[in-house]
């Protein structure tokens, strides 16, 4: 069985026929070809696959593409405005909030969610808000600094 879906990814609409079991993350990576979103654990624990659906974060390894039918999905590729990086991307760059970068797309999308819900978070709130995202390199300190820098800008606004 295939099912027709219409999913808007970073402003561009994709009308496709998909198998119901196709995960949203595979729709993004393999159908759309946007490989910024990563698969880490594949068991909804690490957050590498975090994207926004209608402005709200979700782990795309634990959603079916059919569930996103009609929705607007934003991935890491959709944050920058042309050459101008999003304030969160700027902040991760400046504060060295990444090393290998594998967790970074998910970490930035989860930070986007954090700032949407808590525009001016304390360090404890930042750590709590990113608790579903794992980084195996940075030790988190610089990630917290990056989010703190981005807070107070318009980072949480889509």
């Amino acid at each position: 069985m295939t099912v027709p879906v219409s999913i808007t990814v970073n402003g561009q609409r994709y009308d496709r026929e998909v198998e119901p079991r196709l995960l949203l993350v595979h729709f993004l990576r393999e159908v759309v070809g946007s490989t910024g979103t990563k698969v880490g654990c594949d068991t909804s624990q690490c957050g590498a696959c975090t994207v926004l659906m209608d402005g709200v974060s979700l782990k795309s390894c634990t959603a079916l593409a059919v569930q996103a039918d009609g929705a607007e999905v934003t991935t890491i590729e959709g944050l920058a405005d042309g050459d101008a990086l999003h304030p969160l991307q700027d902040a991760f760059w400046e504060k060295h909030g990444l090393q290998c970068g594998f967790c970074t797309p998910g970490m930035i999308m989860a930070s986007h969610e954090l700032l949407r819900v808590t525009p001016d978070p304390s360090d404890a709130q930042i750590r709590h808000g990113l608790e579903g995202n794992m980084c195996r390199c940075t030790g988190y300190q610089n990630i917290v600094r990056a989010v703190r820098q981005a807070a107070g800008t318009t980072a949480g606004q889509p």
Partner: protein, 305 residues
Amino acid sequence: MYAPDFAYYRADSVAEIGRLLRAHPGAKVLAGGHSLIPLLKLRLAAPPALIDIGRVAELKGIAVADGRVRIGALTTHAEIAASSDVARHAPALAAAAGVIGDPAVRNRGTIGGNVAHADPASDLPTVLLALGASFAVATDDGERTIPAGKFFQGMMATALGDHDVVTAIDVPAAPGGQGQAYEKFSHPASRYAVIGVAATVELRGETVGNVAVALGGLVPAAVRTGSVEQALSGRAPSAEAIAGAAAAVSNDLGDDLIGDIYASAEYRRAMAPVCVKRALTAALKQASVADAPAARSPWWKPSWL
């Protein structure tokens, strides 16, 4: 990981969910998918069809009426945690919903899916049992109501029949003088409950009134602990009374304690009274704030705390 193949249907109304379930034997409903999709990916379940109920508007929302909070089955954990109505009338439920998994999990997971899945490591069965909630269920021949005490029957086993759909959860609004708390010992990676304890305690002047305490993570299905409840009810609140009542939890644990690579059965048995004590202390503190003569004045503190 790829789920086994399945057919997919989408329902727009509760009536249509029932029709689709009857038309496709063995089908499972899909709500937030945050328990079902992992099971499919691990191939621990292989239903021939999924009925997606995620867009059924009549299953969403929170309303307060007739002394209870009615929460639609599709309401997400994030919505419950953010609701001022739930915070006011069922604070232990708000607290529990806010410590489920992580923000992305809370954005997708629903209260109906959580209780229907009945994972012993879940938070909501425990708290709904202590609060005396009941479940509105759409069945083949109409509606029925199942009290939480009859709903959870074992490890991932509930009173729901094959075609039954939870439509709403009714939670009695906390009466005046009652304190509520949810104490969770989280698994450090998944954030599931290794142990969860929900407690409600009423304070009547200098005496403890009704007490309800439910346990999660310890035995295959969330249970009330009558021994703790009886040991504290009718007593004057004190640190000793709380500790004594908490110790009584061991009478109610039986031999079927859960153990896994993270926390053995022996460890859980040893930690149970600790978590119960914390939950009772927090609930009594809330009750004494609600009961304080100069209502809710921040500096008022009972002598025994």
